[in-house]
Symmetry: C2
DNA sequence: CTATAAAAAGATAAAAAACTCTTTTAATCT
DNA sequence: AGATTAAAAGAGTTTTTTATCTTTTTATAG
């Protein structure tokens, strides 16, 4: 479903939500080791998220990546769209050039249900909320 | 979501459901041109589906690919599983090594809704039913 | 102001997915 | 039986995704 990159990105954002804030920034290495993900590759992803203002970062000593309060109040949709592109939520499930009710593919109407589930997955709770649930219920990330 | 291969495969199966039967077989080229898909690549996919008995084929003059009655009474799940692997319906949406309610990831419970939609998409109608709907409603494939 | 720490950027490499070409096998027709 | 047709199988190639390595920029600390 999501690309590997996107999965890494989501997990990294959640990790930052739990373990970082403006006063406690984390280096790529910290996150990569905690999530068991290739470091230099994760660095690229975090840079990309940072460029899109979905996470925050500063350079230099005591620098690193973190989630600002604002970052944490967003949901995960932006993260997914930033890495995998916005089309994941709107493109035809059979790969036809356009997806529309005007000219639908055979799976179009049922694809709505699937998309609904997908959107709820990433939209109906903030990153902060997910992170808090992870802590309360000791979930794996 | 589905790989490109899988999308091609689904479309090809539907095309066969509509345009072929045991008495009217189609060559790879026919299908590839109709769907505007790379021919030799589609050939590989059809061979794979044929090996898994999801479509039928015969060699030689008047040979080709087609859907038997039995093939057409199945749903699309087998096609998807044959090309993309069965894990698409059961693997963790965040890429964790196992997906289970015992040790769930933060998105696990909501992922169920998404999976439900995905399964309905491919399971709740037979290939024949989809094909008939395509003909009745002149849908694109 | 200099040394240092860490992200940003750029350039490369490896692996996987998508796509192509060639040879072999099997069915049909004459 | 021999010629022909079309799938099956095998061996490449190209493109995209994933992963690594190196250099540059910027913020901080001393
Ligand atoms: S047209 Fe295929 S999903 Fe909408
Ligand atoms: S554990 Fe992640 S979806 Fe089930």
């Amino acid at each position: 479903m999501f690309s590997k990159s996107c999965k890494y990105a989501i997990r990294a954002v959640l990790y930052l939500a739990i373990h970082s804030d403006a006063e406690h920034k984390l280096g790529v290495k910290d996150v990569a080791e905690a999530l068991d993900v290739p470091g230099p590759f994760l660095a690229k992803l975090l840079q990309q998220l940072s460029r899109h203002h979905l996470i925050s970062s500063t350079k230099g000593p005591n620098g690193g990546f973190y989630l600002s309060e604002t970052n944490a109040r967003a949901n995960l949709r932006g993260v997914v769209e930033s890495i995998d592109g916005p089309e994941v939520f709107s493109s035809c499930i059979l790969g036809l050039p356009v997806c529309s009710s005007q000219n639908p593919c055979p799976l179009h109407s049922r694809a709505q249900l699937y998309r609904q589930g997908l959107l709820e997955l990433v939209e109906d709770q903030t990153i902060k909320e997910v992170a808090e649930r992870v802590e309360r219920q000791e979930l794996k990330i």
